[in-house]
Symmetry: C2
Subunit: 438 residues, 2 copies
């Protein structure tokens, strides 16, 4: 199976665990069978590989997620990098060109497209495999998955099939309706549109060439920022007459809010938490290294990260966006290709940061105009390069770097450093990168 | 007026803001008229001075609170230091000996004793002044304050007066009753025992000498740890026949739990917090430098400190002790005589701490057996002394101290330092103190 996972932008609806550079699909909140924690993207990737060990997985995403994807899934996964965000049609067109021109997939081969963040069981991916087989053999150009509704939701688009068989022609698409309309659609046999579809690669490439003038993957990539934002449904699916829908009635949850996310959690908490007996339906996700005590709460989610703390009634939690928009966004934690950082303290004229580097990785070789830095190695072994001079470092070693001096640190083992930044204007934009000479 | 404020031990009932070394009376949660924040002890001290600018205030407390008291009230306040905790009778006996032998107060002078943490208005201290005058002139040996009850509380002892005049003889004391009994007492005209009383100094000294064999203040101080724990009510008040009670009907709140403490707050939050419109009767006390967002909560208190996070229904919050007892206590923030420290990060083999020194203050001159330390100055100016060598320091300066080396830092201005501790066994007990040679 060729599968393209659409990995969307960072959301504010799961603040404080998602932010401008950290998306919900990378938060480790699900317990695996052996008790470890995995993220949504790790869960989905694991499930796909359990169902089809040979599945070729490509993630369509923006540059900002590449580090997290490699950290969480390893290097084997394909990534179609969108230079900027342009909605699902351009993203799928680019991924299709990537599959053909970079991965060498034939135009007759079926491709399944699916969001990266449904909370499902393995039967969902069995169904995706079936969807791909249908797309391969059917005369239809597009085969959708239609999820059997469990209630008249206002959050999803609806697909009205031309009959009640497992696979039917699509009769009509309906935009997100009111609850009353949703109930009427369901009475007519409507299915939820979960954003999953399969096609032969050549079909989408032809549609792409009809709508966008480009020669190949590199050309499309180069002009990506000039494309209009348009959804795949609007650009392609709604105009296609040879289109079918396959029913799916297994578990399917859209983990877009704290309310739905906590429903999918296997226990009541991740991280350090205590509840008294009066707590009912309370979930805690605690990324801080201090305890959270909950007493006498009902239907509440508590989430704490280096960025902030949310305490919300579960129903109310879906209205978080306007509140988060009012916050001054300060990124206090981020994963990078080389490891991660966490801001420990911000003060006037200084910032203190804990930097973790993965073995074999290093920071960019860089300098700052307006700040000095002091590194104190607290664990691991590695080497620093400061203005071209390489030096071995171990715990307790201190390296000072004046403004203007070029520096990097290379991890030979997992390496942790306390970095103190000093200067009147401390900014992430104050950075020059350089090539390292051999 | 001579007034002794009893400053009790650290409570767990206001976790995470109070802990083993930090007591509720020092938490800055009250807004003054000009918008600044003040603690309970600062509020009470300010109120006393507003009512009686000449009041001689002595705080009876343990050694662990002395730094916080001087930091918050300055150096002028008297402190009777209890070498260990022995309940209110030994504490008051020691304070009485301190007033006579250290402060030179005459045995005929009246002394008023009062807890350090009632939430009251200035009329309460007017009443205390009156209580002192009564004790001075009355034939009674002891004059208590009786607070007119507002509901049949199970939390307080009751005083049954011999009549309904403003000042009456005491007819009987009653221990904390059931709610039903409390209602009966109130029907008989009972008053709450708020732990406030006045006497002529000589009276309590005589009682003290009857019950404890000691010569003077220094002798009592030296044998303090051999004394039995016993309350003043039990040792003295309940055996005294020449005893009066004066009614008080003004504002009086016992700020012993989150529920009562939040009632006394002037606004809904201290620190960074946001509420959506569905929140009702929600209070946030946030000592962290990240925002807290509350949504759809009712009757909830959220309190966040470097030690942890509490989210509790207000009624339930009074049952916190057993949960806090289960926590491994890690002190993440503390005030010291020289300033304060906050633990930023704990890891295997290292700890990172932000140290703030007040101008003119310094740490003890000390060394560690099992850890190296690195200081990076982030603000202010001062001097370090390392193995006898003094050196000026300013922001950006780095000082490294190997295990065994003697060191201190002296603040010439307000000084902040990031201290990285490195070693296999990092413990607060690994410390040797030395005298500094001139």
């Amino acid at each position: 199976m060729n599968i393209v996972l659409l990995s969307g932008g960072s959301g504010q609806r799961l603040w404080p665990l998602s932010n401008d550079i950290r998306s919900k699909q990378f938060i480790k909140i699900f317990h695996t069978a052996d008790g470890a924690l995995e993220s949504m993207v790790q869960r989905v990737y694991r499930q796909i590989k359990e169902v089809d060990g040979d599945a070729a997985v490509t993630i369509a995403t923006s540059k900002s997620q590449v580090s997290s994807i490699h950290n969480q899934l390893g290097e084997a996964v394909g990534i179609s990098i969108e230079p900027c965000r342009r909605d699902t049609f351009p993203a799928i067109a680019l991924a299709a060109a990537y599959l053909k021109d970079v991965k060498g997939i034939g135009e007759d081969e079926a491709v399944v497209v699916c969001p990266v963040d449904p909370y499902v069981e393995n039967d969902y991916f069995e169904a995706l495999k079936e969807l791909g087989q249908l797309a391969q053999s059917s005369e239809a150009n597009l085969v959708l998955m239609g999820i059997e509704p469990t209630y008249p939701s206002e959050k999803y688009g609806y697909i009205i099939p031309d009959g009640s068989k497992k696979v039917s022609r699509v009769s009509m698409f309906k935009e997100k309706p009111t609850q009353q309309l949703a109930a009427e659609y369901i009475a007519q046999g409507a299915l939820w549109n979960g954003g999953v579809f399969a096609f032969r690669l050549g079909y989408v490439l032809r549609r792409a060439h009809e709508l966008i003038s480009f020669t190949d993957y590199n050309d499309l990539f180069a002009k990506y920022d000039t494309l209009n934002k348009i959804s795949f449904d609007y650009a392609v699916a709604e105009h296609e007459s040879l289109i079918e829908v396959m029913r799916f009635s297994g578990t399917w949850k859209d983990i877009g809010t704290w309310n739905t996310l906590t429903e999918a959690m296997t226990g009541n908490f991740v991280g350090e938490a205590m509840f008294n007996e009066e707590c009912k339906n309370v979930h805690v996700i605690n990324e801080l290294n201090v305890p959270i005590i909950c007493m006498g709460l009902k239907d509440v989610v508590v989430s704490a990260s280096p960025d902030g703390i949310l305490v919300s009634d579960k129903e109310q939690s879906s209205y978080i966006k306007p509140l988060v928009n009012k916050l001054e966004q300060r990124i206090m934690f981020a994963e990078k290709s080389w490891g991660s950082f966490r801001v420990l303290d911000m003060a006037e004229g200084s910032a203190t940061i804990k930097v973790t580097l993965h073995p074999g990785h290093r920071m960019n070789y860089h300098s700052h105009d307006h700040r000095d830095e002091v590194w104190t190695v607290i664990s691991g072994e590695g080497r620093t390069i400061v203005d071209g001079m390489e030096q071995q470092v171990k715990p307790g070693d201190v390296v000072t770097m004046a403004a203007g001096c070029r520096h990097t640190i290379i991890a030979d083992t997992e390496l942790q450093v306390i970095e103190v930044q000093l200067g009147k204007e401390i900014s992430v934009h104050d950075k020059h990168k350089y090539e390292l000479e051999d």
